[in-house]
Symmetry: C2
Subunit: 262 residues, 2 copies
Amino acid sequence: MFILAPDTGLIVMVIQIHPITKLPMIKPGDDLAQLIYDATIGTDTLRDGDILVITHKVVSKAEGRLVDLSSVEPSQAALNYSAQTGKDPNVVEIVLRESRAVRRMAPGVLITETRQGFVCANSGIDKSNVAGTETYALLPVDPDQSAKRIRDRLKELGGIDVAVIISDTHGRAHRSGEVNVAIGTSGLNVLRDRRGERDLFGYELRVKNIAVADELAGAAELVIGQADEGVPAAVIRGYTYRRDESSKAVDLVWPRDKDLFP
Amino acid sequence: MFILAPDTGLIVMVIQIHPITKLPMIKPGDDLAQLIYDATIGTDTLRDGDILVITHKVVSKAEGRLVDLSSVEPSQAALNYSAQTGKDPNVVEIVLRESRAVRRMAPGVLITETRQGFVCANSGIDKSNVAGTETYALLPVDPDQSAKRIRDRLKELGGIDVAVIISDTHGRAHRSGEVNVAIGTSGLNVLRDRRGERDLFGYELRVKNIAVADELAGAAELVIGQADEGVPAAVIRGYTYRRDESSKAVDLVWPRDKDLFP
């Protein structure tokens, strides 16, 4: 959005972030894009060039990526990790199935590399906002593909071309607290590479390569996090992203051999 | 900001982010709060309850935290690290002076724990947007104190009570690209602790503790990064932060002995 600064007449770029309210509870098999389209059509909350940020939980639910703990038989490895972390062996079993490596362990903590490559707690599996006392949501199998499907479906339904980001809440090395990051994207370049640009004094920038998809996911969380638990998506308007059909959220993952904190 | 959703009559919370344009080039000794006040007064760009995000570079400049490379004599340690990383020995000397530990080294890369405790490349020293071909900006000595001084001065000048965040651009473990994070704050709780809240199904959240100061710093970068290099600050409106006079950005740093990726 552009606003006219009152004193100078300068046009100033403003970013707006608003929640998508009115989404129903999502169930396996739901057409999430259709539900988002229905919740936004006629309200001007979704337009060409907007960025739609969806928390992965509703994507996982719509895709039926749910596991019931009682259906799980812990392996010997799960029992071992359970003994070392104090975590429920059935939960650990699911975490291990969704991982390709365990990166760190501590009492109550199991940090893995997920099948998709993300380094996060418990392979991203989570109980919150999932129906059933024993049911956990897993990450979408391929969140970048999920984002692309939702984006393509929105184009089909309303001719709207938006960028789509699927977000998750990750802890970090070095810093406490969690932030939302992008685990699936479609339609935008996840990085804004400023290397080669010149600074105020003509000096060439050599290191700036901003993970804008993560900053966008975090910005959306500010709206989602202060809304009711029933708001799983937000729209960012006024950010000029670089359109890109091949850039993906998994591009933001350091391969383990390049990660300085493997 | 609240807007009325046209079809439902529901009031929806919207977050707005806008840049502070019209700031002059900052020099040592400048009263940065006065300059921000002058640039925003009468334009409705700064109001009670807003969050003012300032990139640390202008804070460092105003505080005179600048070092000329030619004034530096590299120590033996700096020469050693320089040989191992291929980095300029005088730059390495400044990096070491601003650090309390070297965390990682690789060709072209020196990741340190800064005197303030942040884990980042080159102790946060940086050449970009600094006048003088050999001049580097250091981090403010105590960015939380810097944020408090700016906040107090804005109160004094205009009776405006805003939260202040001083941001820097950090790389991350596990994920490529950089994001803006909070290195100094005043007036807000840097975390939004949701543990103990109930989810949609009454399940108690056990792990959500969101580093909102970092998400706010990243959100502001979206505006700052797409503006000209001359825009070093942005205002976030519509985010209901928890007021807190004692919470600090350094609270977001894991002590090394608790960091799982030390």
